[in-house]
Protein backbone atom coordinates (compact mmCIF):
# COMPACT_ATOMS: atom_id res chain seq x y z
CA UNK A 1 0.00 0.00 0.00
CA UNK A 2 1.04 3.57 -0.40
CA UNK A 3 2.98 5.11 2.37
CA UNK A 4 1.74 8.52 3.25
CA UNK A 5 3.59 11.19 1.36
CA UNK A 6 4.69 12.90 4.53
CA UNK A 7 6.89 9.98 5.59
CA UNK A 8 9.33 10.83 2.84
CA UNK A 9 11.30 7.82 1.59
CA UNK A 10 9.13 4.74 1.21
CA UNK A 11 10.04 1.89 3.51
CA UNK A 12 11.81 -0.80 1.52
CA UNK A 13 10.37 -4.26 1.90
CA UNK A 14 11.65 -7.81 1.83
CA UNK A 15 15.12 -9.10 2.29
CA UNK A 16 16.72 -6.31 0.32
CA UNK A 17 16.10 -3.94 3.19
CA UNK A 18 19.64 -4.35 4.47
CA UNK A 19 21.14 -4.36 1.03
CA UNK A 20 24.06 -2.18 2.00
CA UNK A 21 25.62 -4.83 4.20
CA UNK A 22 24.52 -7.77 2.05
CA UNK A 23 25.96 -6.22 -1.07
CA UNK A 24 29.22 -5.38 0.61
CA UNK A 25 29.58 -8.97 1.82
CA UNK A 26 28.78 -10.30 -1.65
CA UNK A 27 31.29 -8.01 -3.27
CA UNK A 28 33.89 -9.01 -0.69
CA UNK A 29 33.40 -12.71 -1.40
CA UNK A 30 33.67 -12.24 -5.16
CA UNK A 31 36.82 -10.19 -4.78
CA UNK A 32 38.41 -12.80 -2.51
CA UNK A 33 37.61 -15.52 -5.06
CA UNK A 34 39.09 -13.43 -7.85
CA UNK A 35 42.23 -12.79 -5.82
CA UNK A 36 42.59 -16.50 -5.10
CA UNK A 37 42.03 -17.31 -8.76
CA UNK A 38 44.89 -15.04 -9.75
CA UNK A 39 47.21 -16.15 -6.95
CA UNK A 40 46.70 -19.94 -7.17
CA UNK A 41 49.90 -20.72 -9.13
CA UNK A 42 51.96 -19.01 -6.44
CA UNK A 43 50.33 -20.72 -3.48
CA UNK A 44 52.03 -23.67 -1.74
CA UNK A 45 49.51 -26.23 -2.96
CA UNK A 46 49.81 -29.82 -4.08
CA UNK A 47 49.53 -30.77 -7.72
CA UNK A 48 45.73 -30.75 -8.31
CA UNK A 49 45.74 -33.66 -10.77
CA UNK A 50 48.18 -35.99 -9.00
CA UNK A 51 46.42 -39.16 -7.86
CA UNK A 52 47.21 -41.06 -4.67
CA UNK A 53 45.24 -44.23 -5.19
CA UNK A 54 46.26 -45.52 -1.77
CA UNK A 55 44.82 -42.45 -0.10
CA UNK A 56 41.35 -41.97 -1.63
CA UNK A 57 38.54 -40.11 0.07
CA UNK A 58 40.83 -39.29 3.00
CA UNK A 59 39.35 -36.98 5.58
CA UNK A 60 40.70 -33.61 6.71
CA UNK A 61 44.38 -33.75 7.70
CA UNK A 62 47.40 -31.47 7.94
CA UNK A 63 48.63 -32.77 4.59
CA UNK A 64 45.23 -32.43 2.87
CA UNK A 65 43.35 -29.64 4.59
CA UNK A 66 40.08 -30.57 2.89
CA UNK A 67 40.94 -34.24 2.47
CA UNK A 68 41.17 -36.06 -0.87
CA UNK A 69 38.68 -37.08 -3.53
CA UNK A 70 37.82 -40.51 -4.97
CA UNK A 71 41.14 -40.65 -6.82
CA UNK A 72 43.20 -39.45 -3.89
CA UNK A 73 43.68 -35.94 -5.29
CA UNK A 74 44.06 -33.06 -2.85
CA UNK A 75 40.63 -31.44 -2.61
CA UNK A 76 41.84 -27.98 -1.57
CA UNK A 77 44.22 -27.75 -4.50
CA UNK A 78 41.48 -28.88 -6.87
CA UNK A 79 39.00 -26.47 -5.33
CA UNK A 80 41.28 -23.44 -5.76
CA UNK A 81 42.44 -24.41 -9.23
CA UNK A 82 38.86 -25.24 -10.13
CA UNK A 83 37.66 -21.84 -8.96
CA UNK A 84 40.38 -20.28 -11.09
CA UNK A 85 39.38 -22.28 -14.16
CA UNK A 86 35.69 -21.54 -13.71
CA UNK A 87 36.14 -17.83 -13.04
CA UNK A 88 38.50 -17.36 -15.96
CA UNK A 89 36.13 -19.26 -18.24
CA UNK A 90 33.21 -17.11 -17.11
CA UNK A 91 35.26 -13.93 -17.52
CA UNK A 92 36.16 -14.98 -21.07
CA UNK A 93 32.48 -15.33 -21.89
CA UNK A 94 31.66 -11.95 -20.35
CA UNK A 95 34.54 -10.23 -22.17
CA UNK A 96 33.27 -11.55 -25.50
CA UNK A 97 29.66 -10.73 -24.65
CA UNK A 98 30.59 -7.16 -23.72
CA UNK A 99 32.83 -6.71 -26.73
CA UNK A 100 29.94 -7.68 -29.00
CA UNK A 101 26.91 -6.47 -27.05
CA UNK A 102 28.10 -3.06 -25.90
CA UNK A 103 28.96 -1.43 -29.27
CA UNK A 104 25.90 -2.87 -31.01
CA UNK A 105 23.67 -1.86 -28.12
CA UNK A 106 24.95 1.70 -28.07
CA UNK A 107 24.70 2.00 -31.83
CA UNK A 108 21.17 0.59 -31.89
CA UNK A 109 20.02 2.85 -29.06
CA UNK A 110 21.70 5.92 -30.54
CA UNK A 111 20.85 5.62 -34.22
CA UNK A 112 17.58 3.67 -33.84
CA UNK A 113 15.93 2.96 -37.21
CA UNK A 114 17.06 0.00 -39.28
CA UNK A 115 20.20 -0.57 -37.21
CA UNK A 116 18.05 -1.25 -34.18
CA UNK A 117 15.56 -3.34 -36.15
CA UNK A 118 18.25 -5.56 -37.66
CA UNK A 119 20.35 -6.09 -34.55
CA UNK A 120 17.23 -6.57 -32.46
CA UNK A 121 16.04 -9.33 -34.76
CA UNK A 122 19.39 -11.16 -34.52
CA UNK A 123 19.23 -10.86 -30.75
CA UNK A 124 15.72 -12.34 -30.72
CA UNK A 125 16.85 -15.35 -32.73
CA UNK A 126 19.87 -16.03 -30.51
CA UNK A 127 17.73 -15.76 -27.39
CA UNK A 128 15.26 -18.36 -28.69
CA UNK A 129 17.47 -21.33 -27.89
CA UNK A 130 18.71 -21.83 -24.31
CA UNK A 131 22.46 -21.26 -23.92
CA UNK A 132 23.17 -24.78 -22.69
CA UNK A 133 21.43 -26.40 -25.68
CA UNK A 134 23.34 -24.13 -28.05
CA UNK A 135 26.66 -25.00 -26.43
CA UNK A 136 25.88 -28.69 -26.68
CA UNK A 137 25.16 -28.26 -30.38
CA UNK A 138 28.40 -26.41 -30.97
CA UNK A 139 30.26 -29.08 -29.06
CA UNK A 140 28.65 -31.81 -31.20
CA UNK A 141 29.76 -30.11 -34.39
CA UNK A 142 33.16 -28.71 -33.48
CA UNK A 143 34.41 -30.57 -30.42
CA UNK A 144 35.76 -27.23 -29.27
CA UNK A 145 37.47 -27.04 -25.87
CA UNK A 146 36.37 -24.93 -22.93
CA UNK A 147 37.79 -21.72 -24.38
CA UNK A 148 35.84 -22.21 -27.60
CA UNK A 149 32.74 -23.00 -25.59
CA UNK A 150 33.12 -19.85 -23.53
CA UNK A 151 33.64 -17.69 -26.60
CA UNK A 152 30.43 -19.17 -27.97
CA UNK A 153 28.73 -18.47 -24.66
CA UNK A 154 29.92 -14.89 -24.97
CA UNK A 155 28.19 -14.61 -28.32
CA UNK A 156 25.07 -16.18 -26.84
CA UNK A 157 25.07 -13.70 -23.96
CA UNK A 158 25.84 -10.71 -26.15
CA UNK A 159 22.11 -10.08 -26.85
CA UNK A 160 21.44 -9.76 -23.13
CA UNK A 161 24.06 -7.06 -22.76
CA UNK A 162 22.93 -5.58 -26.05
CA UNK A 163 19.36 -5.22 -24.78
CA UNK A 164 20.26 -3.54 -21.51
CA UNK A 165 22.73 -1.20 -23.21
CA UNK A 166 20.22 -0.32 -25.93
CA UNK A 167 17.45 0.44 -23.43
CA UNK A 168 19.75 2.58 -21.31
CA UNK A 169 21.16 4.36 -24.35
CA UNK A 170 17.68 5.24 -25.57
CA UNK A 171 16.93 6.68 -22.14
CA UNK A 172 20.15 8.68 -21.95
CA UNK A 173 20.11 9.77 -25.59
CA UNK A 174 16.99 11.84 -25.04
CA UNK A 175 18.44 13.72 -22.07
CA UNK A 176 19.19 17.40 -22.61
CA UNK A 177 22.94 17.17 -21.90
CA UNK A 178 23.33 14.95 -24.93
CA UNK A 179 21.46 17.44 -27.09
CA UNK A 180 23.76 20.11 -25.75
CA UNK A 181 26.71 17.99 -26.84
CA UNK A 182 25.31 17.63 -30.33
CA UNK A 183 24.64 21.34 -30.60
CA UNK A 184 28.15 22.24 -29.55
CA UNK A 185 29.40 20.24 -32.50
CA UNK A 186 30.76 17.02 -30.98
CA UNK A 187 31.30 14.12 -33.36
CA UNK A 188 29.16 11.00 -33.03
CA UNK A 189 32.16 9.05 -31.75
CA UNK A 190 32.83 11.61 -29.08
CA UNK A 191 29.18 11.66 -28.05
CA UNK A 192 29.12 7.88 -27.75
CA UNK A 193 32.34 7.62 -25.75
CA UNK A 194 32.29 10.74 -23.60
CA UNK A 195 28.59 11.36 -23.12
CA UNK A 196 26.74 8.06 -23.49
CA UNK A 197 29.16 5.53 -22.02
CA UNK A 198 29.32 7.12 -18.56
CA UNK A 199 25.54 7.42 -18.54
CA UNK A 200 24.89 3.75 -19.16
CA UNK A 201 27.73 2.38 -17.07
CA UNK A 202 25.82 1.63 -13.87
CA UNK A 203 23.04 -0.45 -15.42
CA UNK A 204 25.45 -2.25 -17.74
CA UNK A 205 27.70 -3.25 -14.84
CA UNK A 206 24.69 -4.61 -12.99
CA UNK A 207 23.83 -6.78 -15.97
CA UNK A 208 27.46 -7.88 -16.35
CA UNK A 209 27.62 -8.98 -12.73
CA UNK A 210 24.44 -10.96 -13.13
CA UNK A 211 25.64 -12.55 -16.39
CA UNK A 212 28.93 -13.50 -14.75
CA UNK A 213 26.93 -15.61 -12.30
CA UNK A 214 25.02 -17.09 -15.19
CA UNK A 215 28.28 -17.92 -17.01
CA UNK A 216 29.59 -19.72 -13.94
CA UNK A 217 26.38 -21.71 -13.85
CA UNK A 218 26.65 -22.64 -17.54
CA UNK A 219 30.34 -23.55 -17.22
CA UNK A 220 29.47 -25.79 -14.29
CA UNK A 221 26.59 -27.24 -16.28
CA UNK A 222 28.55 -28.19 -19.39
CA UNK A 223 31.58 -29.39 -17.43
CA UNK A 224 29.24 -31.43 -15.25
CA UNK A 225 27.79 -33.00 -18.40
CA UNK A 226 31.32 -33.71 -19.64
CA UNK A 227 31.37 -31.35 -22.60
CA UNK A 228 33.15 -28.39 -21.04
CA UNK A 229 36.39 -28.42 -19.10
CA UNK A 230 37.95 -31.81 -19.76
CA UNK A 231 38.85 -34.15 -16.96
CA UNK A 232 41.18 -34.58 -15.21
CA UNK A 233 41.42 -30.77 -15.05
CA UNK A 234 39.51 -29.25 -12.18
CA UNK A 235 36.73 -26.74 -12.52
CA UNK A 236 33.80 -26.20 -10.21
CA UNK A 237 31.76 -28.14 -12.81
CA UNK A 238 34.05 -31.14 -13.31
CA UNK A 239 34.44 -31.52 -9.56
CA UNK A 240 30.69 -32.12 -9.39
CA UNK A 241 30.56 -34.49 -12.33
CA UNK A 242 29.59 -38.03 -11.39
CA UNK A 243 29.39 -36.92 -7.80
CA UNK A 244 26.23 -38.86 -6.97
CA UNK A 245 28.33 -41.93 -6.23
CA UNK A 246 30.34 -40.07 -3.59
CA UNK A 247 27.35 -38.65 -1.75
CA UNK A 248 26.98 -41.73 0.41
CA UNK A 249 30.62 -42.16 1.41
CA UNK A 250 32.06 -38.64 1.39
CA UNK A 251 29.44 -35.94 0.78
CA UNK A 252 32.11 -33.33 1.48
CA UNK A 253 33.70 -34.03 -1.91
CA UNK A 254 30.46 -32.84 -3.54
CA UNK A 255 29.24 -30.28 -1.05
CA UNK A 256 32.38 -28.17 -0.79
CA UNK A 257 32.67 -27.25 -4.49
CA UNK A 258 28.86 -27.00 -4.63
CA UNK A 259 28.88 -24.48 -1.80
CA UNK A 260 31.63 -22.39 -3.38
CA UNK A 261 29.83 -22.35 -6.72
CA UNK A 262 26.48 -21.48 -5.15
CA UNK A 263 27.97 -18.74 -2.99
CA UNK A 264 29.69 -17.20 -5.98
CA UNK A 265 26.51 -17.17 -8.04
CA UNK A 266 24.53 -15.90 -5.06
CA UNK A 267 26.99 -13.06 -4.49
CA UNK A 268 26.99 -12.06 -8.13
CA UNK A 269 23.18 -12.10 -8.14
CA UNK A 270 23.09 -9.93 -5.06
CA UNK A 271 25.52 -7.46 -6.62
CA UNK A 272 23.50 -7.55 -9.82
CA UNK A 273 20.34 -7.02 -7.75
CA UNK A 274 18.19 -9.67 -9.40
CA UNK A 275 15.13 -7.90 -8.05
CA UNK A 276 15.14 -5.67 -11.10
CA UNK A 277 15.58 -8.47 -13.61
CA UNK A 278 12.69 -10.07 -15.38
CA UNK A 279 14.74 -12.88 -16.83
CA UNK A 280 17.61 -14.97 -15.59
CA UNK A 281 19.55 -18.17 -16.24
CA UNK A 282 18.95 -20.46 -19.20
Amino acid sequence: MTEVVATGRPRSTGILAGLGVTRALALGFVLVCLAVAVAVPFLPLGEPNRQHLGDTLASYSAEHLLGTDQLGRDLLARLLWGTRTSLFAALTAIAVATAVGLPFGMLAGYRRGWVEAATGRVADVILTVPALVLLLTVHAALRSGITGQMVTLGVVFAPRIYRVVRTETVKVATLPYLMAGRMSGCSHTRILLRYLLPGIRAQSLVQVSYLLGLSLLIEAGISFLGVGVESPNASLGTMLSGAAAMLASAPRVVLIPAAVLSLLILSLNVIGDIESKGERRG
Binding site: V129, A248, I265, G278
Partner: protein, 319 residues
Amino acid sequence: MLTLILRQAALRALAAVPTLVVVTACTYVMLFAIGDPAAVVAGESATPQQVAQVRHSLGLDRPVIAQYLDWLGNAVRGDFGASLHNRGTVLDLIGQYLPPTLLLSFLALTAAVLASVLMGSAVGSRPGGPVDRGLGAVAVLGIAVPNFLVGYVLILVFSLWFRWFPAGGYRDPAEVGWATALQFLTLPAASLALGLMCVQMRTFRASLIKEYEGDYVRTARMKGVSPGGVFFRHVARNAAAPWVTVIGLEVGVLITGALLVESVFAIPGIGTLTLEAVQGQDFPVVQALVALCALVILAANLVTDLIALWLNPASRGLS
Protein backbone atom coordinates in the same frame (compact mmCIF):
# COMPACT_ATOMS: atom_id res chain seq x y z
CA MET B 1 -12.73 -10.52 -27.59
CA LEU B 2 -12.12 -14.17 -28.42
CA THR B 3 -11.72 -13.38 -32.11
CA LEU B 4 -9.28 -10.65 -31.20
CA ILE B 5 -7.15 -13.08 -29.23
CA LEU B 6 -7.35 -15.68 -31.97
CA ARG B 7 -6.23 -13.13 -34.53
CA GLN B 8 -3.32 -12.19 -32.28
CA ALA B 9 -2.47 -15.87 -31.93
CA ALA B 10 -2.38 -16.35 -35.69
CA LEU B 11 -0.30 -13.20 -36.21
CA ARG B 12 2.26 -14.12 -33.60
CA ALA B 13 2.47 -17.74 -34.72
CA LEU B 14 3.20 -16.43 -38.20
CA ALA B 15 5.89 -14.12 -36.84
CA ALA B 16 7.55 -17.07 -35.09
CA VAL B 17 8.00 -19.01 -38.34
CA PRO B 18 10.99 -17.01 -39.65
CA THR B 19 12.69 -17.31 -36.25
CA LEU B 20 12.23 -21.05 -36.35
CA VAL B 21 13.63 -21.24 -39.89
CA VAL B 22 16.67 -19.12 -39.02
CA VAL B 23 17.40 -21.15 -35.89
CA THR B 24 17.18 -24.50 -37.68
CA ALA B 25 19.16 -23.21 -40.67
CA CYS B 26 22.00 -21.97 -38.47
CA THR B 27 22.04 -25.26 -36.58
CA TYR B 28 22.03 -27.18 -39.83
CA VAL B 29 24.97 -25.27 -41.25
CA MET B 30 26.85 -25.70 -37.99
CA LEU B 31 26.26 -29.44 -37.84
CA PHE B 32 26.32 -30.53 -41.47
CA ALA B 33 28.63 -28.00 -43.13
CA ILE B 34 31.09 -27.11 -40.38
CA GLY B 35 30.83 -30.44 -38.59
CA ASP B 36 31.53 -33.57 -40.60
CA PRO B 37 28.81 -36.25 -40.42
CA ALA B 38 30.49 -38.38 -43.10
CA ALA B 39 33.58 -38.78 -40.94
CA VAL B 40 31.37 -39.88 -38.06
CA VAL B 41 29.59 -42.49 -40.14
CA ALA B 42 32.73 -43.78 -41.80
CA GLY B 43 34.42 -44.23 -38.43
CA GLU B 44 37.80 -43.12 -37.14
CA SER B 45 39.86 -45.65 -39.05
CA ALA B 46 38.38 -44.75 -42.44
CA THR B 47 40.58 -43.55 -45.28
CA PRO B 48 39.82 -40.21 -46.94
CA GLN B 49 38.46 -42.10 -49.95
CA GLN B 50 36.02 -44.01 -47.78
CA VAL B 51 34.88 -40.80 -46.12
CA ALA B 52 34.35 -39.18 -49.54
CA GLN B 53 32.34 -42.18 -50.62
CA VAL B 54 30.12 -42.02 -47.53
CA ARG B 55 29.73 -38.31 -48.05
CA HIS B 56 28.53 -38.87 -51.58
CA SER B 57 26.19 -41.69 -50.64
CA LEU B 58 24.58 -39.59 -47.92
CA GLY B 59 24.16 -36.66 -50.29
CA LEU B 60 26.39 -34.50 -48.12
CA ASP B 61 28.46 -33.28 -51.06
CA ARG B 62 25.57 -31.22 -52.38
CA PRO B 63 25.32 -27.48 -51.59
CA VAL B 64 24.37 -27.00 -47.96
CA ILE B 65 21.37 -24.85 -48.88
CA ALA B 66 19.88 -27.67 -50.93
CA GLN B 67 20.50 -30.09 -48.10
CA TYR B 68 18.83 -27.78 -45.58
CA LEU B 69 15.80 -27.21 -47.77
CA ASP B 70 15.45 -30.98 -48.11
CA TRP B 71 15.65 -31.32 -44.35
CA LEU B 72 13.10 -28.53 -43.85
CA GLY B 73 10.72 -30.05 -46.40
CA ASN B 74 10.91 -33.43 -44.71
CA ALA B 75 10.71 -31.95 -41.21
CA VAL B 76 7.48 -30.14 -42.04
CA ARG B 77 6.06 -33.54 -43.00
CA GLY B 78 7.29 -35.03 -39.73
CA ASP B 79 10.34 -36.83 -41.12
CA PHE B 80 13.53 -35.87 -39.30
CA GLY B 81 15.73 -38.51 -40.92
CA ALA B 82 17.54 -41.37 -39.28
CA SER B 83 20.21 -41.66 -36.62
CA LEU B 84 23.78 -41.89 -37.92
CA HIS B 85 24.39 -44.76 -35.53
CA ASN B 86 21.63 -47.10 -36.71
CA ARG B 87 19.38 -46.33 -33.78
CA GLY B 88 16.32 -46.01 -36.01
CA THR B 89 14.50 -42.89 -37.15
CA VAL B 90 14.98 -39.69 -35.19
CA LEU B 91 11.26 -39.40 -34.57
CA ASP B 92 11.08 -42.88 -33.02
CA LEU B 93 14.05 -42.06 -30.82
CA ILE B 94 12.48 -38.85 -29.58
CA GLY B 95 9.16 -40.59 -29.01
CA GLN B 96 10.94 -43.20 -26.97
CA TYR B 97 12.81 -40.72 -24.74
CA LEU B 98 10.09 -38.08 -24.46
CA PRO B 99 7.66 -39.49 -21.81
CA PRO B 100 9.97 -39.23 -18.76
CA THR B 101 10.90 -35.66 -19.66
CA LEU B 102 7.28 -34.64 -20.25
CA LEU B 103 6.23 -36.16 -16.95
CA LEU B 104 9.13 -34.57 -15.09
CA SER B 105 8.57 -31.12 -16.61
CA PHE B 106 4.83 -31.25 -16.07
CA LEU B 107 5.24 -32.18 -12.41
CA ALA B 108 7.90 -29.54 -11.81
CA LEU B 109 6.00 -26.78 -13.59
CA THR B 110 2.71 -27.58 -11.86
CA ALA B 111 4.38 -27.68 -8.46
CA ALA B 112 6.22 -24.43 -9.12
CA VAL B 113 3.11 -22.63 -10.36
CA LEU B 114 0.91 -23.75 -7.47
CA ALA B 115 3.52 -23.07 -4.82
CA SER B 116 4.42 -19.69 -6.25
CA VAL B 117 0.79 -18.56 -6.32
CA LEU B 118 0.17 -19.68 -2.75
CA MET B 119 3.34 -18.23 -1.29
CA GLY B 120 3.29 -15.15 -3.49
CA SER B 121 -0.25 -14.34 -2.36
CA ALA B 122 0.59 -14.99 1.27
CA VAL B 123 3.46 -12.53 1.32
CA GLY B 124 2.34 -10.15 -1.43
CA SER B 125 -0.82 -9.15 0.42
CA ARG B 126 1.18 -8.30 3.54
CA PRO B 127 4.74 -7.40 2.55
CA GLY B 128 7.42 -6.70 5.12
CA GLY B 129 6.47 -9.31 7.71
CA PRO B 130 8.76 -12.04 9.05
CA VAL B 131 7.27 -14.66 6.69
CA ASP B 132 7.95 -12.35 3.76
CA ARG B 133 11.55 -11.80 4.81
CA GLY B 134 12.09 -15.51 5.38
CA LEU B 135 10.64 -16.56 2.06
CA GLY B 136 12.50 -13.74 0.34
CA ALA B 137 15.81 -15.07 1.61
CA VAL B 138 14.88 -18.62 0.56
CA ALA B 139 13.97 -17.30 -2.88
CA VAL B 140 17.31 -15.57 -3.39
CA LEU B 141 19.05 -18.78 -2.37
CA GLY B 142 16.78 -20.95 -4.50
CA ILE B 143 17.54 -18.86 -7.55
CA ALA B 144 21.30 -18.91 -6.99
CA VAL B 145 21.84 -22.62 -6.32
CA PRO B 146 22.05 -24.54 -9.62
CA ASN B 147 19.28 -27.14 -9.77
CA PHE B 148 21.60 -30.10 -10.25
CA LEU B 149 23.20 -29.18 -6.93
CA VAL B 150 19.76 -28.96 -5.36
CA GLY B 151 19.34 -32.50 -6.70
CA TYR B 152 22.48 -33.67 -4.90
CA VAL B 153 21.36 -32.15 -1.63
CA LEU B 154 17.92 -33.73 -1.96
CA ILE B 155 19.49 -37.12 -2.67
CA LEU B 156 21.76 -36.76 0.36
CA VAL B 157 18.94 -35.80 2.71
CA PHE B 158 15.86 -37.65 1.50
CA SER B 159 17.42 -40.67 -0.10
CA LEU B 160 20.59 -41.42 1.85
CA TRP B 161 19.68 -40.13 5.30
CA PHE B 162 15.93 -40.60 5.55
CA ARG B 163 15.63 -43.28 2.81
CA TRP B 164 12.22 -41.93 1.75
CA PHE B 165 12.86 -41.81 -1.98
CA PRO B 166 15.12 -43.66 -4.41
CA ALA B 167 18.34 -41.85 -5.32
CA GLY B 168 17.79 -42.09 -9.05
CA GLY B 169 16.32 -43.98 -11.97
CA TYR B 170 12.95 -43.98 -13.66
CA ARG B 171 9.99 -46.36 -13.74
CA ASP B 172 7.29 -46.34 -16.39
CA PRO B 173 3.95 -45.64 -14.66
CA ALA B 174 2.24 -47.98 -17.13
CA GLU B 175 4.33 -50.87 -15.85
CA VAL B 176 4.76 -50.26 -12.12
CA GLY B 177 1.78 -48.02 -11.36
CA TRP B 178 1.68 -44.32 -10.52
CA ALA B 179 2.58 -44.67 -6.85
CA THR B 180 5.98 -46.16 -7.58
CA ALA B 181 6.60 -43.97 -10.62
CA LEU B 182 5.89 -40.82 -8.63
CA GLN B 183 8.21 -41.99 -5.90
CA PHE B 184 11.00 -42.04 -8.45
CA LEU B 185 9.99 -38.66 -9.85
CA THR B 186 9.53 -36.73 -6.62
CA LEU B 187 13.14 -35.72 -5.97
CA PRO B 188 14.01 -34.80 -9.58
CA ALA B 189 10.79 -32.81 -9.96
CA ALA B 190 11.48 -31.02 -6.68
CA SER B 191 15.02 -30.06 -7.69
CA LEU B 192 13.69 -28.76 -11.00
CA ALA B 193 10.76 -26.94 -9.41
CA LEU B 194 12.64 -25.07 -6.69
CA GLY B 195 14.36 -22.49 -8.89
CA LEU B 196 11.28 -21.96 -11.05
CA MET B 197 9.11 -21.55 -7.99
CA CYS B 198 11.40 -18.95 -6.46
CA VAL B 199 11.46 -16.80 -9.58
CA GLN B 200 7.70 -17.05 -10.07
CA MET B 201 6.98 -16.36 -6.43
CA ARG B 202 9.07 -13.20 -6.49
CA THR B 203 7.40 -12.01 -9.65
CA PHE B 204 3.92 -12.65 -8.29
CA ARG B 205 4.77 -11.04 -4.96
CA ALA B 206 6.21 -7.96 -6.63
CA SER B 207 3.28 -7.50 -8.96
CA LEU B 208 0.78 -8.05 -6.14
CA ILE B 209 2.46 -5.33 -4.12
CA LYS B 210 2.34 -3.04 -7.11
CA GLU B 211 -1.34 -3.78 -7.77
CA TYR B 212 -2.29 -3.26 -4.13
CA GLU B 213 -0.94 0.28 -4.49
CA GLY B 214 -3.35 0.87 -7.38
CA ASP B 215 -6.05 3.49 -6.91
CA TYR B 216 -8.71 1.01 -8.02
CA VAL B 217 -8.08 -0.96 -4.82
CA ARG B 218 -9.13 2.13 -2.87
CA THR B 219 -12.23 2.36 -5.06
CA ALA B 220 -13.09 -1.24 -4.21
CA ARG B 221 -12.59 -0.58 -0.50
CA MET B 222 -14.79 2.48 -0.81
CA LYS B 223 -17.53 0.30 -2.33
CA GLY B 224 -17.27 -1.94 0.71
CA VAL B 225 -15.63 -4.96 -0.95
CA SER B 226 -14.21 -7.35 1.66
CA PRO B 227 -10.42 -7.93 1.79
CA GLY B 228 -10.91 -11.36 0.22
CA GLY B 229 -13.04 -9.86 -2.52
CA VAL B 230 -10.42 -7.20 -3.18
CA PHE B 231 -7.82 -9.94 -3.64
CA PHE B 232 -9.79 -12.39 -5.77
CA ARG B 233 -12.02 -10.10 -7.80
CA HIS B 234 -9.67 -7.18 -8.29
CA VAL B 235 -5.98 -7.56 -7.49
CA ALA B 236 -5.17 -11.17 -8.36
CA ARG B 237 -6.18 -10.98 -11.99
CA ASN B 238 -4.20 -7.81 -12.64
CA ALA B 239 -1.18 -9.17 -10.81
CA ALA B 240 -1.25 -12.41 -12.78
CA ALA B 241 -0.32 -10.96 -16.18
CA PRO B 242 3.41 -10.30 -15.54
CA TRP B 243 3.66 -13.55 -13.64
CA VAL B 244 2.25 -15.55 -16.55
CA THR B 245 4.72 -13.86 -18.89
CA VAL B 246 7.58 -14.91 -16.63
CA ILE B 247 6.37 -18.51 -16.69
CA GLY B 248 6.70 -18.37 -20.47
CA LEU B 249 10.21 -17.00 -20.24
CA GLU B 250 11.12 -19.70 -17.73
CA VAL B 251 10.45 -22.54 -20.17
CA GLY B 252 14.00 -22.22 -21.49
CA VAL B 253 15.24 -22.56 -17.93
CA LEU B 254 13.00 -25.58 -17.50
CA ILE B 255 14.55 -27.29 -20.53
CA THR B 256 18.10 -26.54 -19.40
CA GLY B 257 17.24 -27.70 -15.91
CA ALA B 258 15.63 -30.93 -17.10
CA LEU B 259 18.80 -31.75 -19.02
CA LEU B 260 20.99 -31.43 -15.93
CA VAL B 261 18.54 -32.99 -13.50
CA GLU B 262 18.04 -36.03 -15.74
CA SER B 263 21.77 -36.50 -15.66
CA VAL B 264 21.91 -36.31 -11.85
CA PHE B 265 19.06 -38.79 -11.38
CA ALA B 266 19.89 -41.05 -14.34
CA ILE B 267 16.51 -40.58 -16.00
CA PRO B 268 16.32 -41.82 -19.60
CA GLY B 269 14.70 -38.66 -20.99
CA ILE B 270 15.28 -36.11 -23.72
CA GLY B 271 18.22 -34.68 -21.78
CA THR B 272 19.92 -38.05 -21.79
CA LEU B 273 19.18 -38.46 -25.50
CA THR B 274 20.64 -35.02 -26.19
CA LEU B 275 23.80 -35.82 -24.31
CA GLU B 276 24.19 -39.18 -26.07
CA ALA B 277 23.61 -37.57 -29.44
CA VAL B 278 26.10 -34.79 -28.72
CA GLN B 279 28.78 -37.14 -27.48
CA GLY B 280 28.20 -39.55 -30.37
CA GLN B 281 27.95 -36.69 -32.90
CA ASP B 282 24.60 -38.05 -34.05
CA PHE B 283 23.87 -34.92 -36.09
CA PRO B 284 20.32 -35.62 -37.32
CA VAL B 285 19.23 -36.25 -33.73
CA VAL B 286 20.89 -33.07 -32.46
CA GLN B 287 19.35 -31.08 -35.31
CA ALA B 288 15.85 -32.37 -34.51
CA LEU B 289 16.28 -31.75 -30.79
CA VAL B 290 17.32 -28.12 -31.33
CA ALA B 291 14.32 -27.62 -33.62
CA LEU B 292 12.03 -29.19 -31.03
CA CYS B 293 13.50 -27.03 -28.28
CA ALA B 294 13.02 -23.82 -30.26
CA LEU B 295 9.49 -24.86 -31.17
CA VAL B 296 8.55 -25.58 -27.55
CA ILE B 297 9.97 -22.25 -26.37
CA LEU B 298 8.28 -20.22 -29.08
CA ALA B 299 4.98 -22.02 -28.46
CA ALA B 300 5.23 -21.49 -24.70
CA ASN B 301 5.90 -17.79 -25.14
CA LEU B 302 3.00 -17.52 -27.57
CA VAL B 303 0.59 -19.22 -25.18
CA THR B 304 1.64 -17.20 -22.14
CA ASP B 305 1.55 -13.96 -24.12
CA LEU B 306 -2.01 -14.74 -25.16
CA ILE B 307 -3.02 -15.52 -21.60
CA ALA B 308 -1.48 -12.24 -20.46
CA LEU B 309 -3.38 -10.52 -23.24
CA TRP B 310 -6.62 -12.07 -22.06
CA LEU B 311 -5.89 -11.04 -18.48
CA ASN B 312 -5.08 -7.47 -19.39
CA PRO B 313 -7.76 -5.97 -21.66
CA ALA B 314 -5.96 -2.65 -22.04
CA SER B 315 -3.15 -4.27 -24.03
CA ARG B 316 -5.67 -5.73 -26.48
CA GLY B 317 -6.17 -2.38 -28.09
CA LEU B 318 -2.61 -2.41 -29.37
CA SER B 319 -1.68 -5.05 -31.89
